[in-house]
């Protein structure tokens, strides 16, 4: 199959945007993506669009994909919405890459959008809980925070990590997010603040949980046959991995790792022909602080039970050996569910293109994005590569 390249990507600011609709927000994201294509791109060049989102107004809405692309001026092309909870647009990127690699499209648009702050807190609670295992897990009164808290309880019981290590994730990601003008919670926080936050679902406190945000992101994928028309510095989609896992935590063999993340990571490394050691930076799905620790291990950055050591040694800080969530991650940059996965790819594109501003990582070659749906029912990993002239 032919290669696929990211030729442009962008996102709206993540945050609270009462003046925007899901359609206008998506349109704005597409504009930033189009503007980022070095030689420009006509919208007519786009052959297909895949849009990730969980819902509209806290509810299911049919045809929200075509409704969003129509609003953005993309008429007549195949457009569909993909739903995989918080991994929706990670999967839309994967779908667009498939379309390009298979030859069905030369340029495909992968995007995601979510408006989460325009509804009552009651509806938000309803909505955020419907992506889990509904009949059993949900009916014990758990929320997403609750399920990740359960994983944290087992992990903290089994390994040396402490609640303070969870708080260190928040401190690191806020420090990075403060350098990202598009971050929802773009401020720094002290370890004392993070440790002392009120409990949400023990052992997780408020600073161990990401916010709910409005936002949209768009990624333009082109085939090797046309990539030269758009850029001289293409970012290759070197590896794609995706996997599913039993949706309910209780149905799994292990609560201290996410099997779908591990499998998706291995596939992506394999296709890219690299090992975790080759990764220069990663955008990781830190919906809850424990998720970042689990991901360090699932993605092979360290052995099982040693994630806290990476935090203690500063390995994953912006100036560390393997910066994680330079964008601020879900914790600080924000988490508009359907837009998160595409937003991660947009960040990786920026970093690999050397356009990440104050949070630019020094000369990276490989960037990894890791997007998880629910508590691990779906995961998708991309390895992006800045091709270095031979």
């Amino acid at each position: 199959m032919r290669d696929a390249y990211v030729i442009g990507a962008g996102q709206t600011p993540f945050g609270t945007m009462p003046d925007e609709s899901y359609r206008s927000l998506f349109s704005a994201a597409l504009e930033t993506a189009v503007d980022s294509v070095p030689y420009g791109l006509e919208r007519d060049d786009i052959d297909e669009a895949v849009i990730g989102s969980l819902g509209v107004g806290g509810r299911q809405l049919g045809l929200s994909g075509p409704a969003a692309t129509e609003h953005a001026g993309l008429h007549g092309i195949p457009s569909s919405r993909i739903e995989n909870a918080c991994a929706a647009s990670g999967y839309s990127v994967r779908q667009a890459v498939q379309a390009v690699k298979s030859g069905m499209a030369d340029v495909a648009l992968a995007g995601g959008v979510e408006i989460m702050t325009d509804m009552s807190s009651d509806v938000t609670k309803y909505w955020l809980g419907v992506s889990g295992e509904t009949e059993w897990e949900r009916l014990t009164g758990t929320t997403f925070a609750g399920v990740y808290a359960q994983m944290a309880s087992t992990y903290l019981d089994q390994y040396e990590a402490t609640q303070e290590h969870l708080s260190m994730v928040a401190v690191k990601n806020h420090e990075n997010g403060a350098k990202n003008p598009k971050a929802h919670l773009g401020f720094e926080c002290s370890l004392d603040d993070a440790v002392g936050a009120p409990t949400v679902a023990d052992p997780l406190n408020l600073y161990h949980c990401c916010p709910t945000s409005d936002g949209a992101a768009a990624v333009l994928i082109a085939s090797e046959d046309v990539v030269d028309e758009y850029t001289d510095d293409p970012i290759r989609v070197a590896g794609v991995g995706a996997a599913s896992e039993r949706v309910g935590l209780f149905q799994r063999d292990d609560y201290t790792g996410i099997a779908s993340s591990k499998k998706a990571g291995e596939q992506a490394y394999d296709e890219a022909g690299i090992t975790p050691d080759d990764v220069d930076f990663a955008e990781i799905h830190d919906c809850f602080a424990i998720a970042e620790l689990l991901a360090y291990e699932d993605l092979g950055f360290c052995e099982r039970g040693e994630a806290h050591q990476l935090l203690e040694d500063g390995v994953t800080e912006l100036d560390g050996e393997l910066p994680v969530n330079a964008s601020g991650g879900l914790k600080s940059k924000g988490h508009p569910i359907g837009a998160t996965g595409a937003g991660q790819v947009a960040e990786a594109f920026k970093q690999l293109s050397g356009k990440a501003g104050d949070r630019q990582i020094d000369d990276p070659q490989y960037g990894l994005t890791h997007n998880v749906g629910g508590s691990g029912g779906a995961a998708v990993v991309h390895v992006l590569e800045r091709e270095v002239a031979q």
Partner: protein, 478 residues
């Protein structure tokens, strides 16, 4: 006079308690005489869940299980639903066979005595047994005498052919006395006209009428007498032909409150536990009527009547739903009633499945096997013991509950949600399932803690109450 006798008795009261002083502090006075403290149902308890608690203890004391029950009767003034047969779910929760004969008696505080009377006429049943359960949690206006008195509890009698508790004699009596204690259709609070002497007359006349019809001499160690408060039963000593000592030997009202249709059953359980070998049961129901029953013999008992968690008055009002809100707008996760019904044996009795391909245990037994990923034609049915170990746990703090659990959290506060590895029947394999873990006092649930299950309300959606198992720390099951 009957070939049926009592095999064993079980009794249960909620672990929550409120002192009369708390209520007196709130209102300036406590109107229910002779009550020092009383039992309060947790937000997820009702007459049905308490009935199961009492029944399980009675069956255990009798050395039997639900499969032996061929006649199942429930007496209560507070059925959780005004219309719908609760005994079908009760039978399912207890594991009684589907051809069990069932009765629900309600309408007055002597409902369970009527149910017992009818069961004595229905037996004997060969090797099988009858289970007659009294369970009640009356309510009254918060500022009324009945509201102050209202307690909660349940007790169950296992009946069999040759049990240790012989029914020596029994009688009933009715006389029309309207207005002493009543609840209008659609209301959930019991009231009365409060015509003091008239109320006393109704009580003593009917009880006296029933006991005077007994032909055998009383000569009892204890008298279990209907106790709407801690004073009225003692006004009936002359009418009943018993002494204050005999009534107080069986009394529960001072610590459990007015337990309505469960009052006399709870007193009987207490008397047997204290070693009584000859007992008068004297039940009164407004309207009015009375049942008297004379029992001879030492009856095995299993009770859990002590409280261990004291409530403030505000916490009490929250538990009673007086100051809390219902499920919020926006709705909860929707699980249709038919899909809930398909899992009811899992919810009620932890029925798991063994995979015919790999022997792996599955809960719920539905879809592909967790162990081998094959989709079997049918899982072999396996009932889990209900004991297990916490594998993962969190406490959902106030404000963090999903909508369908907002009402529970509003009433009871933070709750614990866990994944528990339940022990399989062979004692080796376990299978995991999510469940709430009940907490009382300052209990904390950690990974590695041992738990056992009980039945509680899970939630109510579309006005249909969904019951299912919840866990509690081993040892907390008093």
């Amino acid at each position: 006079m009957t070939d049926v006798s009592i095999a064993a008795v079980g009794a249960y009261a909620p672990r929550l308690r409120i002192d009369a002083d708390e209520i007196a502090d709130a209102w300036g006075q406590f109107q229910a005489s002779g009550i020092e403290r009383k039992a309060v149902p947790e937000a997820d308890e009702d007459a049905l869940t308490m009935a199961v608690e009492a029944a399980e203890r009675a069956l255990a004391a009798a050395g039997r299980d639900g499969s032996a029950v061929t006649h199942l009767a429930l007496g209560t003034t507070t059925p959780p639903m005004a219309e719908e047969d609760l005994t079908a779910r009760l039978a399912s929760m207890l594991g009684a066979p589907e051809d069990v004969t069932t009765r629900t008696v309600t309408g007055s505080t002597r409902a369970s005595a009527q149910a017992l009377d009818a069961a004595l006429d229905a037996g004997p049943w060969g090797d099988e047994v009858a289970l007659v359960i009294a369970s009640d949690c009356p309510r009254g206006e918060p500022d009324s005498e009945r509201g102050h008195a209202a307690g909660a509890g349940a007790a169950a009698f296992v009946l069999e052919a040759d049990g240790p508790g012989t029914i020596v004699d029994r009688a009933s009596h009715v006389e029309p006395y309207p207005g002493t204690r009543f609840r209008t259709t659609g209301d959930d609070e019991t009231t009365g006209l409060g015509v003091t002497q008239y109320d006393r007359d109704a009580f003593t006349t009917t009880l006296g009428g029933a006991t005077s019809d007994l032909e055998e001499p009383l000569d009892v160690d204890a008298a279990a007498v209907q106790s709407p408060d801690g004073k009225l039963p003692y006004r009936a000593t002359d009418a009943l032909g018993v002494s204050v000592t005999e009534i107080s030997a069986a009394e529960t009202v001072s610590t459990l409150g007015d337990t309505g249709a469960a009052s006399v059953f709870l007193s009987a359980a207490t008397a047997f536990e204290e070693g009584a070998e000859r007992l008068l049961m004297a039940a009164y129901g407004s309207g009015a009527g009375a049942n008297a029953l004379l029992i001879d013999g030492a009856v095995p008992v299993a009770t859990s009547l002590e409280g261990d968690t004291d409530l403030s008055y505000a916490e009490y009002l929250r538990r009673r739903g007086e100051i809390t809100s219902d499920e919020p707008e926006g709705g909860g996760a929707y699980v249709s009633v038919p899909s809930w019904q398909r899992t009811i044996s899992q919810r009620h009795r932890l029925v798991a499945g063994r995979c015919p391909n790999c022997n792996g245990l599955n809960f719920p037994p539905d879809g592909a096997c967790y162990d081998c990923n094959e989709v079997p034609d049918e899982y072999e049915t396996v009932e889990l013991s209900g004991t297990g170990t916490v594998e993962a746990v969190t406490q959902i703090e106030q404000g963090g509950a999903p909508p369908e659990f907002v009402e529970q959290q509003s009433k009871s506060g933070a709750f614990v949600s866990a994944v528990v590895a339940f022990n399989g029947p062979d004692g080796e394999q376990t299978v995991s399932a999510p469940t709430q873990v009940l907490i009382g006092g300052d209990e904390v649930v950690d990974v590695g803690d041992d738990v056992e299950t009980t039945i509680r309300r899970i939630y109510t959606q579309e006005d249909v109450i969904r019951y299912g198992f919840k866990a509690q720390l081993t040892g907390a099951k008093r």
